[in-house]
C-alpha cells in the first residue's frame, strides 16, 4: 500500500508540473503579454521598457522558474483589471463552483443509481430499453442548450424558478439538474453494466443457493461490488464534471470560477485566467489521486496490478 501511495504522489507532482508549464506556455509563448497590456500606438522604447519591467527579456526557463516559484506560494500576480491579487479573486469564487459541482454530482447519482440498477435487473425489458434510449439522447444534449430550454420553460413560462443568480436553494435547482443530467447517462450505463457483470458471478449464485433474500443479494452482494468500477470512472470523470460546471455556470450566471474566467478572458485579464486554470486543474488532479487511493483501499487487486 505504501508503494502504491508513493507512486500516486509522484504522478501527482509530475502532472502538476505539466499543468504549470501548460499554463505558462499559453500566456507567455503563444501570446505576448506586453502586446496585450500596452495600447497599439505605444512606441518601441515603451515596449522595451515594459518588457524589462515584466522580466520578459530574461531567458524563458528563468521566467518559468519565477512564475512557478511564485505560483507555489499562491502568488499569481495582480489582476490587470481589478488591481488586486489574482489568487484572492479566484479563491473568492471557488465555493459556488464547488457547491454546484457537488450538487450536480448528487443529482447525477440520484438519477443514475436507481435507473442503472433497475435496467440491469430487468435486462432487455421495456424499462431497460427506455432508460438506455434516454441515456443515449441525454449524452447528445448540449448542456448549455438544455440550460436555456429549462430557463425558458421553468423561469419564463411557469415562473417557478429564478432564471439566474445565486443564494437560495431555488437557485440551485436548475443548474444542479442541468449538470446532473449531463453526467447521469454515462453513470447509469456504468452502473448497469457493473451490476450485470456482478450478477453473473459465482458468489451471487452461492448467496442465492443458500437462500438469501433476493433483495439482500442485490443490495449487499451485487451493489457493493458493482460500486468499484463506478467510483473509479466517476472519479476520473471529475474533470469532465468540472468542465460541465464551467458550461453550466455561464448559462445561469452562477458567480463561480468559470464565470470569473470568462469575464477575465473578455477583459484580457490574464493573471486571473492563469490562476483560475491552474487552481481548477489542481483540484481535478487531487480529486483523481484521492479516487485512486480510495479504489486501491476498497479493492486490493488494483494496487497490485497497476
Amino acid at each position: 500500500m505504501r508503494r502504491y501511495i508513493a507512486r500516486q504522489l509522484v504522478q501527482l507532482v509530475v502532472v502538476i508540473i505539466g499543468i504549470s508549464i501548460l499554463a505558462f506556455v499559453i500566456l507567455h509563448v503563444l501570446g505576448d503579454p506586453v502586446l496585450l497590456l500596452l495600447p497599439q500606438n505605444a512606441g518601441k522604447e515603451e515596449f522595451e521598457r515594459y518588457r524589462k519591467l515584466l522580466g520578459l527579456d530574461q531567458p524563458i526557463w528563468f521566467q518559468y522558474w519565477k512564475f512557478a516559484s511564485h505560483a507555489i506560494q499562491g502568488d499569481f500576480g495582480k489582476s490587470w483589471y481589478a488591481d488586486t491579487p489574482a489568487f484572492g479573486l479566484v479563491l473568492e469564487r471557488m465555493p459556488p463552483t464547488i457547491y454546484l459541482t457537488l450538487a450536480g454530482f448528487f443529482v447525477a447519482l440520484l438519477i443514475a443509481l436507481p435507473l442503472g440498477i433497475l435496467s440491469a435487473l430487468k435486462q432487455h425489458s421495456f424499462v431497460d430499453n427506455l432508460c438506455t434510449g434516454v441515456a443515449v439522447a441525454g449524452q447528445a444534449m448540449p448542456i448549455f442548450w438544455l440550460g436555456i430550454m429549462l430557463i425558458i420553460i421553468f423561469a419564463v413560462r411557469l415562473r417557478a424558478l429564478p432564471a439566474s443568480g445565486y443564494g437560495t436553494w431555488q437557485h440551485f435547482v436548475m443548474p444542479a439538474f442541468c449538470l446532473g443530467a449531463a453526467l447521469a447517462p454515462i453513470t447509469m450505463r456504468l452502473v448497469r453494466s457493473g451490476v450485470i457483470e456482478v450478477m453473473n458471478m459465482e458468489y451471487i449464485k452461492t448467496a442465492r443457493a443458500k437462500g438469501v433474500d433476493e433483495r439482500m443479494v442485490v443490495v449487499k452482494h451485487a451493489f457493493r461490488n458493482a460500486c468499484i468500477p463506478v467510483i473509479t470512472v466517476l472519479g476520473l470523470q471529475f474533470g469532465q464534471l468540472l468542465g460541465g460546471a464551467i458550461i453550466t455556470e455561464t448559462v445561469f450566471a452562477w458567480p463561480g470560477v468559470a464565470t470569473l474566467t470568462v469575464e477575465s478572458i473578455r477583459n484580457q485579464d490574464f493573471p486571473v485566467v492563469q490562476c483560475a486554470v491552474v487552481l481548477l486543474a489542481l483540484i481535478i488532479v487531487t480529486a483523481n489521486v484521492i479516487v485512486d487511493l480510495v479504489v486501491g483501499l476498497i479493492d486490493p487487486r488494483i494496487r497490485v496490478s497497476t
Partner: protein, 274 residues
C-alpha cells in the same frame, strides 16, 4: 438493433451534410439578409407566423431556417478538420509510444495524462483567449487539444500488436521500424481510429458551439449554431425559437453522429472497448 439505429442516423446525417453542402441553393433566404419589418416573426405553425419564414426570424429579421442550414457548414467544417488534425497527431504519437516504449512512451503518456486531467473546455477557453477567435484558430485549438484520446487507445493496441508473430516475422526479415509501423501495425488499427474519430466529431461540434455561444468562437454575423444560440438567449423571454432551433440542430447532429459511431463500433469490432 443498434445497427438499425445506426443506419437511420446515417440517413439523418446524410441530410444534414447535403443541406450544408448545398446551402446556397436550398436555403430559402440569404442568411445575412436583414428585414427589420419582419423581425421576431414566430415559426410558421404559430399564430402570426408566415410560410415564408418556416422557423421564424431573429431579432433583426433574418430567416432562421436559412441561418440554421448555413450554420451547419461551420460546425461540420470545424468538426471534421479538427478531428483530422487531432487524429493525425494522436495516432502518430500513440504508435510511437506503443511501439518504442521506454522513455518515448513515458514522455508521451505524461503529456496525455496532463491534457486529459484538464477539462477540454478550460484548455480551449484559455488558448482562444490568447490567440483570439477565428475559424482557423478554432480548428487548431480543438484539433491540438483533442489528440490524447487517440494516443491512449492506439498506444494500447500497438503494444498488443507489437508482440504478434507477423511483426516478429517482419523484424526478422529486416524491415525498418517505419515500414513495420505503417505497413504492418497501422492497417490493423483502422477500425478503432474510425470509431473514435466519428464520436469525436460530435464532441468537437458541441465544444465549438459552446465557444461561439460565449462569443469566443465564430463571430457574428457569420451564422454558427453556437453564436445563434448565444444571441437568441437575450430574446428568450418572448421569442424562444431563436435559441431553440440552433440548439435542436446541435442536438440532432450530435445524436446522429453518436448513434452512427456506436453502430460502427458494433459492426467493425463488437469487442472493442472505447
Amino acid at each position: 438493433m443498434r445497427l438499425k439505429w445506426g443506419v437511420a442516423a446515417a440517413a439523418v446525417m446524410l441530410v444534414i451534410v447535403t443541406s450544408a453542402l448545398l446551402a446556397p441553393w436550398i436555403a430559402p433566404h440569404d442568411p445575412l439578409a436583414v428585414n427589420i419589418r419582419h423581425r421576431l416573426a414566430p415559426p410558421a405553425w404559430m399564430e402570426g407566423g408566415e410560410l415564408r419564414h418556416l422557423l421564424g426570424t431573429d431579432q433583426i429579421g433574418r430567416d432562421l431556417l436559412a441561418r440554421v442550414i448555413y450554420g451547419g457548414r461551420i460546425s461540420l467544417v470545424i468538426g471534421v478538420s479538427a478531428v483530422m488534425l487531432s487524429a493525425t497527431i494522436g495516432v502518430l504519437l500513440g504508435l510511437a509510444a506503443g511501439y518504442f516504449g521506454g522513455r518515448v512512451d513515458w514522455t508521451i503518456m505524461t503529456a496525455v495524462n496532463v491534457l486529459l486531467t484538464f477539462p477540454f473546455v478550460l484548455l480551449a477557453l484559455a488558448v482562444i483567449a490568447v490567440l483570439g477567435a477565428s475559424l482557423t484558430n478554432m480548428i487548431i485549438v480543438l484539433g491540438v487539444a483533442g489528440w490524447p484520446i487517440y494516443a491512449r487507445v492506439i498506444r494500447a493496441e500497438t503494444m498488443a500488436i507489437r508482440e504478434r508473430d507477423f511483426v516478429m516475422a517482419g523484424r526478422a526479415l529486416g524491415m525498418s521500424h517505419g515500414r513495420i509501423i505503417f505497413r504492418q501495425i497501422l492497417p490493423n488499427l483502422v477500425s478503432p481510429i474510425v470509431v473514435i474519430a466519428t464520436l469525436q466529431v460530435a464532441q468537437v461540434i458541441v465544444l465549438e458551439s459552446f465557444l461561439s455561444f460565449l462569443g469566443l468562437g465564430i463571430q457574428p454575423p457569420t451564422p454558427a449554431w453556437g453564436n445563434m444560440l448565444g444571441e437568441g438567449r437575450v430574446y428568450m423571454l418572448n421569442s424562444w425559437w431563436i435559441a431553440a432551433f440552433p440548439g435542436l440542430a446541435i442536438f440532432v447532429t450530435t445524436l446522429a453522429i453518436n448513434l452512427m459511431g456506436n453502430a460502427l463500433r458494433d459492426w467493425l469490432d463488437p469487442h472493442m472497448k472505447l
